[in-house]
């Protein structure tokens, strides 16, 4: 049965585990015990769901995309609106869960890594809301690229710590956050932003994100007689996808994870970990990753900062290997086109990350029947991507009229 994953060693089939310096084994054990207790505690779960509802704005809407459906022809398109979450993406669901757990464990300080800044903002947000001290590790290159989110975190009271090691991007920020945690695990809680990292993180983050799928299942039943034929979600680390997929794993629904093909998976510039990577260890977990022949991790590329990660959650590696989930890859250009289409037809500007899922779905629906339905997880809103979008579309829209 799928639901018994991960096993006691934190394995999803061949993947997962805890590949960490000895100093972290204690803190991970402490985390696991606290997590297991918390997830059995009605009061904890109640508080988590209460905060989701009265603070984050859940449940997020399930929107029927009537216009885009008409435009494309074929299966009916439904959108799960994680873009309506407070702070603009699904990331907050997990941040809330972990922050509540940190508080419960008596840790007054949290650390987090961030690439584009979405998880950093979510972490800074829960730190403010729950009165925790917050340090966000962020690559120097990303700090330059995401000035606005850096400011936002600081305004929320978080300290943003520039990481100059490596290439100064997400992978390096994660390394540095882990190093800092190693040295300061006694009173610090490390709030990881996706279903990656050593056990129990992949399980914990999935469980704090499964609210997406749980809600979708319930909402879908209210509006359609049958479950969707396919569900699409983009995959960076894989948290929005796992959160969406998990409650559907044992249902008869085709699940499609969409990676970033960047400039094309036949070029060196992509972030299609499952399509082009190989198994290995990254950030404490055995999973697929992008690496050279010597096992050195390589720098990924995607136009969307949130998918620009050389690894992937170990549960995805397992679902890939077991073929339960189909994984596809979408290029920058395809994602941008899908973003534009959704914007023009539905008045929803999605995050470029989410646009990868949209693009794959938009490719497929015209070949499906009108009786079928599909569901796409719109993991976040596009506000954060405006600078990028302007670069790509400014001329086009300026000449539209």
């Amino acid at each position: 049965m799928l639901q018994v994953f991960p096993d006691i060693k934190g394995r999803f089939g061949d993947f997962g585990g805890k590949y960490v310096p000895e100093t972290l084994m204690g803190p991970l054990q402490e985390l696991e015990s606290a997590l297991d207790e918390a997830m059995e505690d009605e009061a904890f779960l109640k508080e988590y769901h209460h905060v989701l509802q009265e603070y984050a704005g859940r449940p997020t809407a399930l929107t029927f995309g009537d216009k885009v459906t008409k435009h494309l022809g074929g299966a009916k398109i439904y959108l799960k609106r994680e873009d309506l979450n407070h702070t603009g993406a699904h990331k907050l669901n997990n941040a809330i869960g972990q922050a509540l757990l940190a508080k419960r464990m008596g840790k007054q300080k949290i650390i987090a890594e961030t690439g584009a800044g979405q998880h950093g903002v979510a972490s800074a947000t829960v730190a403010a809301k729950f009165g925790l001290e917050c340090k966000v590790f962020m690559g120097e290159e990303d700090i330059r690229r995401q000035e606005l989110n850096v400011f936002r975190m600081k305004l929320l009271g978080a300290e943003v710590i520039p990481v100059s090691s490596g290439n100064g991007t997400l992978k390096d920020a994660t390394n540095e956050a882990i190093r800092y945690w190693v040295a300061n695990c006694e009173d610090h809680f490390y709030l990881i932003g996706s279903v990656v990292g050593p056990h129990p993180y992949p399980r914990m983050v999935r469980n704090f994100q499964r609210v997406i799928g749980d809600e979708s299942l319930r909402q879908f039943k209210e509006v359609e007689p049958a479950l969707p034929a396919r569900i699409y979600a983009c995959v960076g680390g894989g948290s929005n996808a796992m959160g969406m997929f998990y409650p559907f794993l044992e249902k008869e629904v085709e699940l499609v994870g969409v990676e970033a093909a960047g400039k094309g998976i036949d070029t060196p510039e992509h972030a299609a970990t499952l399509s082009k990577g190989t198994p290995g260890v990254i950030h404490g977990s055995l999973t697929y990753l992008m690496q050279d022949e010597n096992g050195q991790i390589t720098e990924p590329y995607s136009i969307s900062a949130g998918l620009d990660y050389p690894g992937i959650g170990p549960e995805h590696a397992h679902l890939f290997q077991s073929k339960r989930v189909r994984y596809e890859a979408i290029t920058d250009q395809e994602a941008l086109d899908a973003l534009k289409l959704l914007t023009e037809t539905e008045g929803i500007i999605p995050a470029i990350e989410s646009a990868h899922a949209l693009a794959q779905a938009f490719k497929e629906v015209p070949h499906m029947s009108e009786e079928e339905t599909i569901l796409i997880n719109v993991s976040g809103r596009g506000d954060k991507d405006m600078a990028t979008l302007m670069e790509h579309f400014k001329e086009e829209v300026d000449h539209a009229h």
Binding site: P21, E22, M25, G26, L289, Q296
Partner: protein
Amino acid sequence: MLTKTAFQGKVTKTNQLFIPFVVAGDPSPEMTIEYALRLQEQGADILELGVPYSDPLADGPTIQRAAKRALKAGMSLRKAIELVPEMRKQGVEIPVVIFTYYNPVLQIGHDAFFDLLEANGVEGVLIPDLPFEESEEVRNLADEKAIEFISLVAPNSEERIKQIAEQAKGFLYCVSTLGVTGERNEMNAEALNFIKEVKAYSPVPVAVGFGISNYEHVKLVNDHADGVIIGSKIIRVIESGLEKVENDAKEEALQDFSKEIKQLMNG
């Protein structure tokens, strides 16, 4: 006083162990051999030969910089292992422990990796991100090949301290303070208590690492443990000589190096 056997008798000294760490290929394979020879001259008992890695989770900025230099110079896990016979040829006799992150090992494959270690006469291996729970297969392979698989314990390993210490091979690496590698100015009293506990369980010498950067540290550690592991400090000495090495003043750099190491170990 050291009484336990380690490295199949190759470590036979009865005084304290001196275990230096260098990064293979920093700044070049040739220089790594030179430094190894100088360390041996200064009384090193075992050499930890670090394999540079793109994402060294357990290392501080100093070792990260060294890894970057070595990667730039083309070093890899395979090349690092193949550097060992070269060292031998040039006179390095002390046991060599390959220090590598797990991912490069995985890419070679467990069996091939141990074949490679064996073929090149490597005495030990240390994988900082392969904790006890994940290392059973590797430990068995090491045993088969009679290669010492070096384990680490940390003050927060708690009930696992006993488990890890009891199965330790070669020497047991004690993380003296929480944190990644680097130089610190004070030794921690709690850490000393922890060393005592570890020694009680360990069948092999207990060496202390992480943060040893001057003679005071060395003395303090030697008062309680069976040896010291010194990494970042040595890398910094190497770093301070980089300019000379580049400017064809290699001999001078090596002399400086020896002097500094001597000072570090003997005050």
